[in-house]
Symmetry: C2
Subunit: 359 residues, 2 copies
């Protein structure tokens, strides 16, 4: 049995007992029921994921998957493909947005070369260079099915490695010029929506560029005919190597019962692939922010995930997930540290009717 | 000249030079222009507020204003008025949600009794008990104009005191059973919208309770006829003592050129009063989250403020503002710590046209 099959088999549902205990405690805390909204839901989900009724904040790792996209040669990005290795170097030197935001949230950053076109050397760069970038999906499949499996398994390996080394919360991130094109194509496959409804400006396309990008996505889908009931087929034909790696990280987190925070649109595309490979993996995902990229909302809706940050971000790298890690910590502290109605000596809700006076 | 008049006179606009320097730096940081969305805008606004082109995170204080509302006797809340002093005690003992979230964001909490009906004694409780709760606005004005001025000035005093003691970021919070009724009435005055569009379930009213609440707000507005061009008139007739205190804190922050983070619906009502007293104070406000209370969006739209957290919260106390303080810090770290394109050796955007190939 392959690593992918073995990992998917290990994924089972949430621990409902722990989740119910967390929900019961949330209802006893001195606040109106549900008044902390998604903050309450996050803590309950993390309880169900980890099996701990009062889960604690813990070690956090953001895994940034980088790769190039053959389709970038078709003019679907405002930036040239050289930017992928340049930004990888920036991540490794600690100067990128993801470094700043991960430090802010107390998270470590790992950078994985899943298939950057030009080879990059750095002590801290983890290499799983499946191939030097995908092929142009507008002219044929982005990669072979075997390459897709290898890329997902590389992601699984990295996820398992971090968890074995003590990571209790994983977060996903991406770098790859051209990758919103792949994310839009994947989202179109799984939602059945038209690419025009799912395609944004990425790093900053103008109107003509956006139109071209939609055309190219339509062409890639028409030519490759990816089968939405077969996530590996979708991934191989219109996906990306970093998206595969993200899917792998998610599956590893789900198998090891660790929460995994999904960044923006590219990570959501990876999450759609992970969900296609093993639907139960969705139970282990937490959404972070809602991107400007309009396909992101459709992808999150498909996954049934609710983001907590809405700040017009569209950078990727894991920046939204890193920011959300702080909010996940806050939600766990609420569950663990707040006084109950009884402890605080606060009266509960009353029958409003009893209070009515004629005005 | 009164403290209120003196304070309003000291409020001048943003430092455009510092804001422009911050914007120019954001555009040089190694990311597509605007890709961090509201995170970029926050840092630019804080630069304009403080006059520092690269403002740093600093000492943070959440000021929680507590008071009772006469209108609570009309059955507009799912909780009884005794909860106001009970929650004040909970804040002072450190067991409330605001304590947990303020600790999480590295902020201190101050609790001010602006007019809780029953007197509470505690070493750390700051007392500005203008009166033991407002009168029932459905039967007449909530307070006199003189009381409204005194309450705003108490808020100004507290804000100035915290800033003199070293606070660099203020955040507002509230406690007061019945205060969403006052916030809806205030928002209706300033937006001209119908109370039904601005009134929510507060701590958890049922359908009948919600209907009653809307009726009572309509009655209070019809009876008192507050003048939206006179913020003190609105505040006195349909406001609250804690809302007045919040308005005062905001004016103090604006006068001292400190950012003030506005919590949810009650704080936004205080912000509407502050804006009515001195329109330039809006330049010093940062929104935090978008509440479930439907009047909140209308109030923020009126103020032109954009929240960053969207998590179905509706607790008040300053919880959304405390959570947002972490995001404000993150935005300042982005501006201060990220590498520029030049420093990182990353190529800038290219003319997309140059990259187009016929596909």
């Amino acid at each position: 049995m392959s690593l992918l099959e073995k990992t998917a088999k290990r994924i089972t549902g949430l621990d409902e007992t722990a989740a119910e205990a967390a929900r019961a405690r949330q209802d006893q805390l001195a606040k109106p029921g549900g008044a902390l909204g998604v903050l309450e839901e996050i803590s309950i989900k993390v309880a169900g994921i980890t099996g701990q009724p009062i889960p604690q904040p813990g070690r956090k790792v953001v895994i940034v998957m980088a790769a190039d996209h053959g389709v970038a040669s078709a003019g679907v990005s405002a930036y040239p493909p050289e930017v992928t290795p340049q930004m990888v170097a920036n991540f490794l030197h600690g100067g990128a947005a993801i470094n700043v935001l991960a430090r802010h949230s107390g998270a470590e950053v790992r950078v994985v070369d899943m298939g950057v076109a030009s080879e990059t050397q750095h002590t801290n760069l983890i290499s799983h260079r499946i191939r030097p970038g995908t092929a142009n999906m507008a002219e044929g499949p982005a990669m072979s099915r075997e390459e897709a499996v290898a890329a997902v398994e590389a992601g699984i390996e990295e996820g398992l490695k971090e968890i074995a080394a003590g990571a209790e919360f994983l977060a996903t991130g991406d770098m790859g010029i051209g990758n919103t094109t792949a994310a839009s194509a994947i989202t179109a496959c799984f939602t059945g929506l038209d690419p025009a409804e799912l395609t944004g400006r990425g790093t900053g396309l103008d109107d003509a560029g956006l139109k071209r990008k939609v055309c190219i996505i339509r062409q890639a889908l028409a030519l490759n005919r990816p089968d939405p009931s077969d996530a590996l087929d979708v991934l191989a034909k219109v996906g990306g190597l970093e998206i595969a790696g993200i899917a792998g990280v998610i599956l590893a987190a789900a198998a090891e019962r660790r929460p995994v925070i999904i960044d923006g649109f590219i990570s959501a595309a990876g999450a759609l692939i992970a969900a296609g490979l093993c639907h139960l993996s969705v139970d282990f995902m937490l959404a972070s922010h809602l991107s400007v990229e309009k396909g992101h909302r459709a992808a999150l809706n498909r996954l049934g995930l609710r983001p907590v940050i809405d700040a017009d971000m569209r950078l990727g790298e894991g920046t939204g997930a890193a920011l959300a890690l702080g909010i996940v910590d806050a939600s766990l502290k609420i569950l663990a540290e707040m006084a109950t109605f009884a402890e605080a000596g606060v009266s509960g809700p009353e029958e409003a009717e009893a209070e009515v006076k004629q005005v």
